[in-house]
């Protein structure tokens, strides 16, 4: 490599801050990096692709008949909830990846570059959104192949996808915090399993709330996973298709509640994550 000894700095090099345009380009580059990583990490690809398919097949054919009377009716109820659950699990990769960067020194390398300070985090979260969109598409496709039908229109479906992505964006900050606090990447995954499993299962993702004991019902009803699942059911399936026991009054209430939850989660965990990150590095 030849070095130019007397290169005059260009005005861009002299400018003290990194422009927003440059920052966006750097974010895209770092998002690209996170997506390319998946190619060398078959486990992660399995988590986005094989695991959700497995969940759909398992619950539909093993429990579907017992819970809903028929597998196709159960799929109509369960698929939106499985999409929600899967979305939450995938956000854990934001924390795992961040933790890997922190422990391997890649994060420090990025910090020593003349790039926008927010680009590494924004790149991760953007990549997460791409992975989320892929996973939602995959689950809808497999669901439809097994008999799931969209009972509403394409705009409602897009609204559901948008709502899921917004919620993922907010929940990524929980993952970021875990990623910053955890000692190694395995601990982030461990958290994913030990904390997210109960939260997602104590909801109406797999079974209607009315079948649960009375003391559990208020917990389930107020679980944001339930609220977001209700919103997705209303937006994807609609009132008419769902039976009475699966009844969702209207899309408006759960959608608004989901957005409030997303805002609250982001408001708490984004500043907390940034604070924890400043302490760690």
């Amino acid at each position: 490599m030849t070095t130019v000894t007397a290169a005059r700095p260009t005005p861009a090099e002299l400018s003290p801050s990194v422009g927003v345009g440059e920052g966006i380009k750097q974010t895209m580059t770092l998002a690209w990096r996170t997506i390319v990583q998946v190619r060398h990490n078959p486990w992660e690809l399995g988590d986005y692709s094989i695991q959700p398919i497995m969940f759909v097949l398992l619950f539909t054919y093993v429990f579907g008949g017992a819970i809903a009377g028929s597998t196709s009716e159960y799929l109509t109820f369960a698929l939106p909830g499985i999409i929600v659950m899967n979305m939450l699990f995938i956000t854990m990769y934001v924390g795992t990846g961040l933790n890997t960067d922190l422990t391997k020194g890649v994060f420090d390398r990025l910090r020593s570059l003349p790039i926008a300070r927010w680009a590494p985090m924004a790149g991760r979260i953007l990549a997460d959104q791409v992975k989320q969109a892929w996973s939602i598409f995959l689950l809808l496709a497999i669901g439809m192949a097994l008999g799931f039908r969209i009972g509403t229109d394409v705009w409602s479906l897009l609204a559901a996808v948008g709502l899921l992505l917004v919620f993922a964006l907010a929940f990524s900050w929980v993952s970021v915090l875990v990623g910053v606090v955890a000692k190694d990447p395995e601990k982030v995954q461990l958290f994913g399993f030990t904390a997210l499993f109960p939260v997602t299962f104590v909801s109406n993702v797999f079974a209607p709330t009315s079948t649960m004991p009375g003391w559990l019902q208020p917990i389930v009803e107020n679980n944001p996973v339930t609220i977001l699942s209700n919103a997705c059911r209303a937006l994807m399936v609609g009132d008419d298709t769902l039976g009475t026991e699966w009844h969702v009054a209207s899309a408006t209430t759960p959608v608004v509640q989901s957005l409030i939850w997303a805002a609250a989660i982001a408001a708490v965990f984004a500043p907390l994550s940034v604070w924890a990150l400043r302490r760690r590095v």
Binding site: M1, E13, H40, K104, D108, L113
Partner: protein, 312 residues
């Protein structure tokens, strides 16, 4: 720019623990400066402050003419950092790692491909360019790590213990890479635990101990301050040791191992003189060895306490 790095009164504490206790350094552009010290001396903390990764508690630090606290971005544009652990993305191939650095640098996209190809060639990584970095050996990771640092042609490069954990062959490769960089006019700030590394590479060496610079100078100046090279003679009996000690008044004796430490510069002339003198008095040593000072000797001499560095 004659001063690449100017540090004065640098202080840093983590909680109650003072890590850097008033450090002054001056690194001339185009030279190799080595910060020598054992684990925990504060080497990495110094590098982190100088590379804008960590804020100092006190003192001023100017790198490439810019204050690190006031103009961190200008500093980042001038420097390249290779941290203590090879900071490569293990889930990307060698080529992808380099391409990532190109895309994040102000290098024009049209030059990117050429730069990546040149660096792979220069660091002998062409054959493994398409393999994930997780499959690389420690030496290859280090080379890729350094290649990534060079993408933006930085004028000042920080190397934090670049050869720790490398086998002797990889160490020599790393040394020759550093020499090539200096030949191109790059300034190198290098930390190491190994005196021989500082000796071989550096124009100036500063010895860091418990957050203070205890000595600074050229490797030659530093070594002159040491107890120095000496010859160790071991004898068969206490009688011979006594006789030899009388003949060699400069020597210090170690009765327990029946040995004498004779100060010497290690050169052939002085060694021959020593051997001739032993011959003259018909003395013969059971064992004869030349000791050159290592980091432990440096520390013992400069600080009065031993390092806790495990022998390499």
């Amino acid at each position: 720019m004659t001063h690449a790095i100017e540090v004065s009164g640098l202080r840093k504490a983590f909680g109650d623990k003072v890590v850097l206790d008033g450090i002054d350094l001056d690194v001339q552009a185009g030279t190799v400066f080595s910060l020598l010290g054992p684990n925990g001396a504060g080497k990495t903390t110094t590098v982190n402050v100088l590379t804008t990764l960590l804020r100092a508690d006190g003192g001023t630090v100017r790198v490439a003419g810019h204050d690190v606290a006031a103009e961190p971005k200008a500093v980042r544009r001038a420097i390249g950092v290779t941290g203590q652990f090879a900071a490569v993305d293990e889930l990307l191939t060698g080529q992808e790692n380099l391409q990532l650095m190109v895309d994040l640098s102000p290098v024009p996209a049209k030059d990117g491909k050429r730069i990546v190809a040149e660096l792979l060639e220069r660091f002998d990584l062409v054959e493994s360019a398409q393999q994930a970095a997780s499959t690389y050996s420690g030496g290859m990771r280090r080379k890729l790590d350094l290649a990534m640092t060079l993408v933006g042609s930085p004028r000042i490069i920080f190397l934090d213990e670049p050869t720790t954990g490398l086998d002797p062959r990889s160490r020599r490769t790393m040394w020759s890479i550093v020499r090539d960089l200096v030949a191109d006019g790059v300034t190198i700030f290098l930390t190491t635990q190994y005196l021989d590394e500082a000796d071989k590479l550096a124009d100036r060496v500063a010895v860091l101990d418990q957050g203070r610079i205890v000595a600074q100078g050229t490797p030659g100046e530093l070594k002159r301050r040491l107890p120095g090279t000496h010859v160790r003679l071991r004898f068969d009996s206490a009688g011979e040791l006594d006789a030899a000690a009388r003949v060699l008044p400069d020597a210090t004796r170690d009765d327990e191992s029946l040995a004498l430490r004779v100060p010497s510069d290690g050169g052939t002339t002085s060694l021959r003189a020593l051997l001739d003198r032993l011959d003259e008095y018909s003395l013969s040593a059971e064992e004869f060895s030349v000791h050159t000072p290592d980091l432990d000797d440096v520390f013992l001499a400069l600080t009065g306490h031993a390092t806790e560095v495990a022998a390499k």
